[in-house]
Symmetry: C2
């Protein structure tokens, strides 16, 4: 990756990664990261819909509201999720935030936190405090790729994406994220962080993040399980001479939105492709649904069906399972209008099976990325869901974990 585009090098931000030893990792590794904006920056976040939300998630929501979408720092740790930890968990999160706010001489509500790891375990108070102190000493020293590595849990690959939105203005969007099983093996979660030097108002930033996330991060599903800690953040430093984007409309906003979509989609694909035990990325596209929500419901149910996912793992062009999953979804379905294709080969057409070369199709299914398309023939609703197959390895990773 072009180092100029790295998340560690976005104008207006400094990044540090630290080995805080939050868990007894098998190999020594960095497990704490800090992003600091040189000056108050526009910020927005989106968080898990899970009713059992972790302490950092509850705090971030409050902070973004109280600060009117302005932030100075984001602290991230891997190893302990700080979820289901009661009052003590909340106390530790507050303490970490106060330590950072003191250093930056900013209000606590301008500090955000994110955690990923084991549920129900408390963060080690002293290790966190020491780690934060070290992070301030190392601020700005993180090299390209360091941040993405420090936030990993069961991820196999670090996940980064970036683009130059406007080379004339020098505007860059750069992101990093972690994924794997949604919460498995009890220490994974989707966390994503995007930084830009564009000047964007908090209101416009929030709107852009929501619109983008609904079509990208929210359309990824590994196993249908939703973490207690899922969080997506964006910060905009405004370190550019280009005019500011003040409202969620207009040509400049649309260009920013398109760039944000591209970075988010790349990160989302990387999460799906690196799902726990995944051997391939599976794109589930539903077209011509009665309404958009029908397309989303159908795509999600097919993408999360264990029987569809095991068939994708086994290179089995089993369209019957796709029809079964479609039929049990909340989408409006008329069987005799449905068509199903896999890897570009039609298997079922307007309610009736079609002859196809199953052996050839099974061969095509061995690709690292395959697409499954369902045409509902009822309207213009469309949705694309990103998922992965379901392998022995998924069961192994998630069964062999012991507290």
């Amino acid at each position: 990756m072009d180092t100029l585009r790295a998340l560690e090098n976005i104008p207006g931000f400094k990044v540090a990664t630290v080995q805080a030893n939050i868990r007894n990792w098998e190999k020594p590794r960095r497990d704490l990261a800090l992003i600091v904006a040189d000056a108050p920056a526009s910020a927005a976040g989106m968080f898990t819909q899970n009713q059992v939300a972790a302490a950092p998630v509850k705090m971030d929501k409050k902070h973004l509201k109280a600060s009117d979408g302005i932030a100075r720092a984001i602290l991230v740790n891997a190893g302990v999720a700080n979820a289901c930890t009661g009052r003590e968990g909340k106390r530790i999160a507050v303490k970490n935030v106060e330590q950072i706010a003191d250093k930056l001489k900013c209000p606590p509500e301008q500090v955000l936190v994110a955690s990923t790891g084991v549920i129900g375990r408390q963060l080690p108070t002293e290790k966190m405090a020491n780690g934060i102190n070290q992070a301030f000493k190392d601020l700005g020293k993180a090299k390209p790729g360091d941040f993405a590595k420090a936030i990993m849990t069961t991820d196999i690959k670090p996940k980064e994406a970036s683009l130059v939105l406007d080379s004339e203005d020098g505007i860059i969007l750069s992101g990093a994220c972690k994924g794997s099983g949604m919460i498995a093996p009890n220490m994974a979660t989707m966390l994503a962080f995007i930084l830009t030097n564009a000047a964007v108002s908090p209101k416009a930033l929030k709107a852009a993040l929501k619109e983008t996330a609904d079509a990208t991060f929210n359309m990824v599903s590994i196993d249908g399980d939703t973490s207690t800690n899922d969080s997506l953040f964006i910060m905009a430093s405004g370190m550019t001479d280009a005019p500011a984007i003040d409202k969620p409309s207009g040509k400049r906003y649309d260009k920013f939105l398109a760039g944000l979509y591209e970075v988010s989609m790349s990160l989302s694909r990387q999460i799906a492709a690196d799902g726990e035990g995944a051997t391939k990325l599976v794109k589930v596209r539903v077209v011509n649904a009665k309404k958009h929500k029908d397309a989303v419901a159908a795509a999600r149910t097919i993408a999360e069906s264990p029987l569809v996912k095991t068939a994708m793992f086994g290179n089995d062009p089993n369209w019957g399972r796709i029809m079964m999953a479609l039929g049990r979804s909340a989408a409006q379905v008329e069987e005799d209008k449905v068509s199903v294709s896999l890897c570009g080969r039609r298997m079922f057409s307007q309610g009736a099976p079609v002859l196809f070369d199953a052996a050839e199709l099974s061969g095509l299914m061995k690709a690292k990325e395959i697409e499954l398309e369902v045409d509902l023939g009822l309207g213009k609703g469309e949705a694309l869901m990103l998922t992965c197959d379901f392998s022995y390895e998924y069961v192994k990773i998630n069964a062999d974990y012991t507290t």
Copy 2:
């Protein structure tokens, strides 16, 4: 099993099982079964909620309505599901029904059919016709257990349950079913058949079946996937001197309902315990929910979570995953009122983790049947869901199948 209680020996019914060779089975086996009532009998049925319902399901619903809950026969085949088969599939089902109605000299709407097997393949017309002829020749010759074996697909064990409701009156309830993955490996489905010699009006029979199924068969989930063919039937011959049950209330009705619940619960447990690749039965009990529907939603989401199910397979007392699944369910949840137990050991109490002996609990989890209890602390709603763990074997069975 006491042969007098066997489904093959219920007064007023005759049963035949036939080797019709509907599929090229690895070993020769019986794959067609016919139940015939000596005279028109009360009958009721419940069917899959899947929008992509198989031809037999669509037909049965019409027949039970047209006949006002009276039936003479049920034909069952294993090997081909007759789902997603378009007009041709419907034509074959109609043909089979007409052949049976001709033999019995009854209206076609008094004949019911059930299929289980591969989706999208047509039933072999001639083999079905020959099989039906043979079944009429063999009627009454089926031995105890023959019916349960003839309807199996990927099931490892045949599933039967019966009880003598009233020894004085000689009233018996006897059932057989098949389960395994909900539709996997593309040839499994839940089919259940219950016969009784009690005299019960169609209206009372329908009410009893609905009430029972909602608390038993509808609370079983192997993988969250719903077959295109799920069907549950009950027929009552009235071959008894005991007084008839005419309406869905009163002492005699309540006694019948209790007996039907017991038989249905036994069959449901057998289905869950024999889920594809299952190593144990997992009972998920939710108590003190705000409302009954909250209890059902919570129990279902926990029972269907791949992360909870793999933890149960790995004997991992991972309460964090249970909390995660609970939190993403539609049930009303207040984290600080929730308590979670496994095998009778408390792990999480009113919003905070509790110290427990994880090694001891992991040992207890090795049992063939384990219970997980979630107390929501909000009301009086209760639900019990039956499921199984998620093993390597599940992935293997469902990935290695090729059309």
